[in-house]
Amino acid sequence: MRGSKLMLVNYMCMVLISITLFLHLATHAFLGVSGYGASLEPDAVKGHYTDTATAFMLAVLLVVLAFHSIFSFKTTLLEWRHGKTWTKAVNWGAIVVAAVMVAFGMWTIVAAYITRW
């Protein structure tokens, strides 16, 4: 994919991050919880994962955050140094790191969604 298209995807990720991150923070501050401390109780946290809408929102947040953060870090690394080998290593490294982050986060979300205490 061309760099300009990736940047457009990055812009869309930024919009989605604004919405989903606000909702995520709200569920730990005032949305459906009595306070921040109460929102970190094991049952409250588990409730975030077992609720389908919240779990889906967390999955979307995970994917867009992983893309935005790794894509931006990749851009910084490519500004820092140049060269064919360096560019190839950074591009592949970014793909691998982003994939690992998404896989690890999805494992948490899906496993917490399907397991019952």
Partner: protein, 156 residues
């Protein structure tokens, strides 16, 4: 005075140029407001990336069961942990608003399209709209810290 061969002098010169390039974008003169904003944007971005990895690992503890998760939360629930969370929310506030400013500049919305430099030369960057947006980002960062402090320290 130590004698230095031309070859070693050339090598040390290259090393110093490399060092300058590595941090050149950050500490090149003049250190004006926009450069400071860029430094802070990258610092908060890198910090938030590290926090994201940490957050993914910590939340994975929910799979270990109720007691295990409560133990992990108990370990993190201390003044240093709370200050760290407040700093994270402040960094999110600044990084988010400054990111919007950078997108608006990139799209030419608040900095205008590039044009031929005519005398008297006037830098198109850091006009009032850009300065206002940057100060708004700093302000939102501070407000985020205050709101997070309320919810974490007082409202919790």
């Amino acid at each position: 005075m130590s004698a230095q061969s031309p070859a070693s002098a050339s090598t040390s010169g290259m090393e110093s140029r490399k060092k300058t390039r590595f941090l050149g974008w950050a500490f090149d003169k003049p250190l004006h407001l926009e450069r400071f904003g860029m430094m802070l944007h990258r610092a908060t971005g890198l910090g938030l990336l590290l926090y994201l990895v940490f957050h993914l690992v910590v939340t994975n503890a929910i799979l270990g069961g109720r007691v295990f998760f409560a133990d992990i939360m108990g370990m993190l629930s201390n003044p240093a942990g709370h200050i760290g969370e407040i700093v994270v929310v402040g960094a999110v506030g600044f990084h988010g608003i400054n990111g919007i400013r950078l997108v608006l500049i990139g799209l030419g919305v608040i900095s205008g399209r590039p044009h031929r430099p005519d005398f008297p030369y006037k830098a198109p960057s850091l006009n009032n709209a850009e300065k206002g947006a940057l100060w708004t980002a700093f302000g939102i960062g501070v407000v985020s810290v205050l709101v997070a402090s309320f919810f974490i320290l007082i409202g919790g």
